[in-house]
Amino acid sequence: MHDLYRLITLASQIAGKSKATRWRRYGVGRYLAVTLAAVGVVVLAGCGELPQTIMHPAGDDARLILDLLVPVLWIALVILVVVVGFLIVSMVKYRYRPGNDGIPPQIHGNPRLEITWMVASALIVAVLAVMTFKTMSIRAEAPGPGALIVEVTANQWWWEFTYPELDVVTANELYLPIGQEVDLRLASNDVIHSFWFPSLSGKQDVVPGTVNRMNFVPEEIGVYPGQCTEFCGLAHGQMRMAAFVVSPAEFDRWVEMQQTGADPALATSPGAQVFQINCAACHSIRGTAAAFGQIGPELTGIGARTTLGAGVVNHTPETLAEWIRDPSQIKPGVLMPALGVDVGDVPAALSEDDITALVNYLEQMR
């Protein structure tokens, strides 16, 4: 934001200065200022929070890539300005003027000049290649000892995260302690997906039949949205996730909560019974005897999650109730059946009272 204000200030300064130049005769300065101001306003309007941008890295890999991207972008911009500038100047300077009907000099080429710019192109490419290979060699380093192992399993259209060393399973919200390297092993249960937290790291496709690896160090505390980026079917656009980069102490608290699971005292609540009958075949919650389902996302700690349906809606008791009633209203294509609405002659599996009890029960999983 700050940069943009500076840009606009700069533009108006240019406009002011141009009074002294010959631009003024053509009104170019004023025109330029108005254009820049208009562009600035549009940019500002489009600005604000950019949670998924690659321009503000919070992980070492994203930072490493940005450090390559920025110089490459500048090289590209310089070339662009030179080429487009030459085209515009030529179109103006060498345009046909009435009366000037002579044939311009018939220049067929200039081998020396052509070899020069071929060599120049090759040099630019060589510089780019060296920078790129340097970055690639750093990225290719295997994770060191002591890295936190997380197994990522992609499904249509949600993510499962397993911490094998910690005996923790969760879904769609990935917790990472700041400063500790993470060693991700990515697998898919169905089609090809791609795992991407722009703030933390470059993306990695998740291919069924193989386990892909990636590693990075989260460097800044915060919540970072991510999303599937390989087209994976109907709800591809709604296969989101979030990474919570937290302090080591908070991470330990979270791990403990996930390991403990449901408070045993809740086992007799009315919601617990609704869950056992209607939900447990697909979902599991740590600490409950009969909740072992593997088809749907793990629900241990669901009460603490910030979103539902793989990042589709914010999590409130109301949206949770809506989700249980008919998730396809929120996320078309979702495999979970509608439990709270009549389907044809078949009455709803859950009454509104059941849903209220279930929501109360789930909200306490935190």
Partner: protein
């Protein structure tokens, strides 16, 4: 001199009946068929994109659902690539190559007709899928998503069989043009004197010849995975989904050059004409095109940097991809240098051609950015790539093709398109294009993935999406204007004359539109700008009116090409609808091919367009 064409027999003019179009083997009429059909499919695919842009104008758009959106973006990509830009290019091959090299037609006129009808039926077959559920797995059709388990409908069969028919059509057409260029050049038309457009046609033909057969085989493997349960690409059955990606992109990347090299050729003709200078560094431009063609086969895996091929493979493909920047840069610099110390006539085709250079440069530079595989790890599958590919294929290919349509309209119809309206069209298209695709660079950088039918607000994407949609409507408006300009240009505009732009190549040495036999006498070529040098260079004109031939035999019209193409369409459609239909189709192919070999090919003598035609 255009009046001389009026002596043509009625059966060979615009007013001829439908049957003569169905049976035509004249390369110029086939060009018109290609261009007309391709523009229609371009309009359909463009409408698909307008629906998508409307859906994405605001977050949580509700105009269409995900299922339809996925069909639309798949069909938009497949259509623009295979049944809009490729046949638009083919239209120019047909119109220009025989004229450029001083031939009366292509080497195999009936095969040429077969290519067109196969393309038309393949394209219609592909679009018929909308009635039963169009393919929705992306134009790249990655399994396992496109396997039977995850795509149970018949959309994928339309994709596979449609592309098989279209691919075969392209292979036949490529053989035809390669043979034509090698064998039918007029005396003195050495390879080193050929117009750059014809050179690019030759390179493109070889790209298609090598890229499409493996792809066609791969898609048949995918078909057997789907209909008889083989497991080539199914990991559950021990197959490898990444194998498909290799086979697909081995076609998919050269395909990009198939789409862009012919418009590069067009621009290489248009820029010198309106600069009134020769192309700067003809040899370098031609060799750049050839080396781009060669290298284009060794870069396919840069579409797969995120797949997990490992640092060695990614490194090799990074290096070769960056190497392509060199010949590409050389081309851009040579085009730019053509304008140096020129006397530039700012016409509509020139505006489109210069825009091509600028916009293609932007697309090329963003391509250079994600040639660096680490950068691609962030940019791939985001809107940054959408921006990049549209700067190459719309700002590049389509702007080049529009330049070509304005430039060669006289050779299609004998008339000029309206210059004043044309410039307005250019302005709207240029503005709309940049407003649409420029912001997509920012959207991609800010993390918006491709191929999402909706997005939530709060990502900083709302404004730029709205701006992009606004630009898209502006572009749609520009194309409505273009439709009006073209319709007006069929009848309402003034006659062009033989050589309205003061051109340099052989097509300007004959009438507008050319007579059915193209040239009254055999052109004799002494340089790579024969017509220009005939006018200004002191060398003799390529056409000698005194040498006009009186006994010219053109190939006879034939209905076997459309018959065989129809058989192939039945054979393909039958795989989905009923196997007996396929059997009928196969019988038609064999019978039609046999009958084809038995008919006489020499038509009645064509009358010269009158002594003194040409220069």
């Amino acid at each position: 001199m255009a009046t001389m064409t009026q002596t043509l027999p009625v059966a060979q003019t615009w007013k001829s009946d439908v049957w003569s179009w169905i049976t035509t083997v004249d390369h110029k009429r086939i060009a018109k068929l290609y261009l007309f059909a391709a523009v229609a499919f371009f309009a359909i695919a463009g409408t698909e994109s307008m629906i998508m842009r409307t859906q994405l104008a605001t977050p949580d758009g509700t105009l269409i659902d995900g299922s339809l959106y996925n069909q639309l973006f798949t069909m938009h990509g497949v259509s623009m690539i295979f049944i809009a830009i490729m046949p638009l290019n083919a239209g120019f091959f047909n119109l220009l190559v025989p004229l450029h090299i001083g031939a009366r037609d292509v080497a195999f006129p009936r095969l040429n007709a077969l290519s067109f009808w196969m393309f038309l039926f393949g394209a219609i077959f592909l679009n018929l899928s909308f009635f039963t559920g169009a393919p929705d797995g992306g134009w790249f059709a990655y399994p396992p998503l496109t396997g039977k388990e995850f795509s149970p409908g018949t959309g994928m069969e339309h994709w596979i069989l449609g592309l098989a028919v279209l691919g075969t059509s392209s292979i036949i057409s490529s053989l035809n043009f390669a043979v034509t260029i090698f064998n039918l050049r007029a005396p003195g038309m050495k390879m080193t004197r050929m117009p750059v457009f014809t050179w690019m046609t030759l390179v493109t033909s070889f790209l298609i010849l090598f890229a499409f057969p493996p792809f066609t085989v791969a898609s048949v493997l995918l078909l057997t995975d789907r209909i008889v349960g083989t497991g080539f690409f199914n990991p559950v059955a021990g197959g490898d989904p990444v194998l498909w990606q290799h086979l697909f992109w081995f076609m998919g990347h050269p395909e990009v050059y198939v789409l862009i090299l012919p418009p590069m050729g067009i621009v290489s003709e248009v820029l010198p004409t309106f600069a009134r200078k020769p192309l700067f560094g003809y040899t370098a431009v031609v060799f750049s095109g050839i080396s781009i063609g060669f290298m284009g086969f060794a870069v396919w895996a840069h579409h797969m940097f995120a797949v997990g091929l490992g640092p060695i493979a990614n490194g090799v493909f990074t290096a070769i991809t960056m190497l392509i920047a060199i010949p590409t840069g050389v081309k851009v610099l040579n085009w730019s240098a053509t304008l140096f110390r020129a006397s530039i006539k700012i016409t509509t085709p020139m505006l489109f051609a210069v825009s091509f250079v600028a916009l293609f440069t932007i697309g090329g530079l963003s391509g250079m950015m994600h040639a660096a595989s680490p950068v691609d790890m962030q940019h791939t599958d985001t809107y940054f790539i959408v921006a990049h590919l549209h700067y190459v294929l719309f700002g590049g290919s389509i702007f080049g093709i529009l330049a070509g349509i304005y430039y060669w309209w006289p050779k299609l119809t004998g008339r000029l398109l309206n210059e004043r309206l044309g410039k307005i069209h250019w302005f709207l298209a240029f503005l709309g294009f940049n407003i649409t695709f420029g912001p997509m660079h920012i959207l991609g950088n800010d993390g918006m993935p491709r191929r999402v039918y909706t997005y939530i607000s709060g990502q900083g994407w709302d404004t730029w999406n709205l701006v992009a949609t606004g630009g898209a409507y502006l572009m749609a408006l520009s194309f409505l204007l273009f439709a009006f300009i073209v319709l007006k240009g069929l009848r309402g505009e003034k006659s062009a004359g033989d050589d309205p732009w003061d051109g340099a190549t052989l097509e300007w040495a004959t009438t507008s539109p050319p007579a059915v036999h193209n040239f009254d006498s055999m052109p004799v070529v002494g340089s790579n700008r024969p017509v220009w040098d005939g006018k200004y260079g002191g060398s003799p004109a390529p056409m000698d009116p005194a040498a006009a031939e009186s006994d010219i035999h053109m190939p006879k019209a034939s209905y076997w090409p459309i018959f065989v193409a129809l058989g192939l369409a039945f054979a393909a459609a039958g795989v989905i609808y009923s196997y007996p239909m396929s059997a009928v189709g196969v019988v038609m192919i064999f019978y039609g091919t046999f009958a084809w070999t038995q008919e006489s090919t020499v038509g009645p003598p064509a009358r010269p367009s009158g002594s003194g035609a040409g220069h």
